[in-house]
């Protein structure tokens, strides 16, 4: 018999769980955070997980990093927030610094030039797929003002390379106003 939800995690448990999420999460950490926190550890019910994540998406900054801080703080206060945060970004940061050292030393070797060019081309394919998957859910619906906002953002930031702060200062309020107007 398994209880539906176990008690809140402790500080060391938070650190270990978020380290696991970080190191298993190739490409997408989000799927792993759901798997570990909802399915494996049963620290959150699925609907509470969704609510917390939705709030993280409204806040500025990387979602999953916000999520670690929020979940950690709700479970075990400030120490919990720090444990979850450092569990999530500590090991990848160390890994990236190691990669950076290697890149600065060997990145220009002719033998590696092709490898890096290949990886860069693959990464481009991956993010194109991500952006199309994200856009699709939206495009399938009937034409809405949101579509114009998405296109305007793409053109302003991607093609005209306008300063993003100004682009967002104009488009985010417009987009939120449209959403308010369209709210059910």
């Amino acid at each position: 018999m398994t209880p539906s939800l176990v008690s809140s995690p402790t500080v060391p448990q938070l650190f270990r769980a978020f380290t696991k999420i970080a190191l298993c999460g190739f490409g997408g950490v989000l799927a792993w955070s759901r798997r570990v926190i909802v399915d494996e550890k049963r620290w959150l019910a699925p609907d509470v997980f969704n609510e917390l994540l939705a709030l993280c998406q409204v806040l500025p900054g990387p979602n999953i990093v916000n999520f670690s801080v929020m979940f950690g703080s709700r479970s075990a206060g400030l120490l919990g927030a720090l444990a979850a945060l450092f569990g999530l970004i500590g090991p990848p940061v160390i890994l990236m610094i190691a990669a950076g050292i290697l890149y600065r030393r060997y990145g220009d070797l002719p033998e590696l030039k092709g490898v890096l060019a290949g990886l860069a081309a693959a990464a481009a394919g991956l993010i194109i797929a991500t952006s199309i998957q994200m856009a699709q859910a939206m495009v399938r619906a009937r034409l809405r003002p949101g579509h114009l906002v998405a296109v305007a953002t793409f053109v302003a930031a991607g093609i005209f390379r306008l300063p993003l702060l100004w682009v967002m200062a104009v488009l985010v309020p417009i987009s939120i106003a449209f959403a308010w107007w369209e709210r059910p």
Partner: protein, 177 residues
Amino acid sequence: MNEDSDLYIALLLNFALFSLMAVGGANSAVPEMHRQAVEVHHWISDRKFSELFAIAQAAPGPNVVFVTLLGHYIAGIPGALITTIAMCGPTCAIAYFVARVFDRFKSAPWRVVVQAGLVPVTIGLIAASALIVARAADRDAVTFLITAATFSLTYWTKVSPLVAFGVAAALGLAGLV
């Protein structure tokens, strides 16, 4: 030393601003990171920017650690730590305080509206990131084909993109890229 500290301060301010533009995820800020780091400050070349982006994507962990790698390239280990702290610090502080009043916010109607309003902006920004990365990475027929193949694999199958990364690296090692 003075030049170093000027650079550190510039990195701190720039990346703290990027974090506020990262709506829906760290990759949303990539267009602005590229604009500032490549075009405005000339901290890194277009090609190297796309290579570092690829390394960060191929490694485990949240996408945000791309800024660690970028910071390291620009200003060594201090740079890596500064960009990471600038990108995570202010927004983590906000998240920490919001977490304490979460129960007041979770069903607020404005939360749903703000979230719905941010979705189209996020979609536009991720598409812009894709364009910027692809324009830097796809320089000839082979790289274009690798991009197309990775896209197809990721989009139409459930095969891990890591397979595509592995094959692309192997092709490069074999001197075919």
